[in-house]
């Protein structure tokens, strides 16, 4: 991954920064420039809740090339307490023991080594709590 691309996503990946429409209070993650709901362009930066619940999940057995040495690993869709949903790996848990509805917490982890130089890329993963 080229570094400018990685660099500009750090606020979301490291700090869970989202933005909230000042008019209708809709939260966008990742941040948007235009609120599709109320047509406003006025936003404020907020930090997302780091806890929520597991809405669905899978266990990846055949992975993209960057993750081919990590299989099997669990990926799920989680809903955070402020209503925002995101896709994340679920780590530190036996994938066979996962259940829809489990409470989770997002933690800061290395996600992948990317590109020929093996750039370490970080971000959020979920753990079951």
């Amino acid at each position: 991954m080229i570094s400018p691309r990685y660099f500009r996503e750090i606020p979301q990946r490291y700090r869970l920064e989202a933005n909230r429409c000042k008019k209708c209070r809709m939260i966008y993650f990742p941040p948007r420039q235009y609120c599709g709901g109320c047509k406003s362009k006025e936003f404020e930066t907020i930090k997302l809740s780091d806890t929520g619940k597991l809405l669905t999940f899978t266990v990846i057995r055949i992975a993209p090339s960057n993750f081919s040495k990590e299989t099997p690993y669990a990926v799920g869709v989680v809903e955070l307490n402020d209503g925002v949903k995101l896709t994340t790996q679920i780590t530190d848990t036996d994938p066979d023991k996962l259940e829809i509805g489990q409470k989770i917490k997002l933690v800061f982890r290395k996600i992948q080594d990317e590109g020929k130089s093996g750039l370490h890329c970080y971000g959020y993963k979920a753990i079951v709590i």
């Binding site: 669905t56 899978t58 055949i62 993209p64 990926v75 869709v77 896709t87 829809i100 992948q112 890329c121």
Partner: protein
Amino acid sequence: MREVAVIGAGMTKFGELWSKSIKDIFVEAAIKAIENAGVDHIDSMYVGSMSGGLFVGQEHLGAVMADYLGVNPIPATRVESACASGGVSFRQAYFEVASGQSDIVLAGGVEKMTDGADVTDILATAADQEYEVYQGITFPGLYAMIANAHMHQYKTTREQLAAVAVKNHRNGSKNPNAQFRSEISADTVLNSTLVADPLRLLDCSPVSDGGAAVVLCAMDIAKKFTDSPIRIKASVQASDTIALHSRRSLTTLDAVVRAAEKAYIQSNLKPSDIDFAEVHDCFTIAEIVVSEDLGFFEKGCGGVSVQEGLTSLESGRIPINTSGGLKSKGHPVGATGIAQIIELYEQLQGRAGSRQVKNAHIGMAQNMGGSGASCVIHILEAI
């Protein structure tokens, strides 16, 4: 807008076409379609392709294919909407004829997926790179998460997923252009390799090469070329959030629901008027969800319906994927939407051979991109 007809169709066999290039494949399908239509020229052409650039390092596919088809200097445009590229290519051709801008237009689609590129990585570009793929998700993984949510919410079973694959292979065994012409048992599906739980290898459409093309023309001149033109009754498209996680629901594809609602209004038809349908079964769960979201079955009943044979060719209330679907016919992504139209065209002309639907008068094609962020629906009618 004037009425538009489909007057010709042609496709390559789908499969691992090692000896043919992307150009060979497209041109073969296009020539067959033009000859089948009996036209002496085309005014314009569209090429649906998801990712010529990543699969074979070739972009600018409109110009490439016009050159190799020998039709310069007509306008030639490549259309991209991930796995819905073919359906959207057809829709652009429809608009061009309907608007009066052109009389005879070729709508094609092509993909060359077996030339060595990493197919899992390339297909994943149809999802949100930064917020889905970055985390290690794959396309089977996205549909597996839909499957898991559907099984949790509606008690859909693993056996019901397998029933989709079994049915589509049975249909595909009757299709000479299908990649897999072998019937499979539920046990074979249920014991195939896990790809992304709960989806197994035989829940997934294959990696395929293939091309497909149809010729559209203004209805008022269609009888010059064929005694049985097929009318385009509805052409509708809708979009949804690129990321699965941002959707209102994980078990309903809103782009499909919205496009279907508009298609029924545009055609003045209702779900029970549709005699048969080609739907986007990139994974077995997709056919179940889509059969609900198109209004053929109550929400949550798609799995039971396929298991009870309601979508089978032999005794079905609404036969689905008589061609074998993406699962058995193959899924060269850019060609898929056009190949669905070709199945409708052949069925509506009564030329589908051993997989002919009895009294086929109205057919629907539903083609989608990504995990459902794009959906394009066409309704065709025999006249």
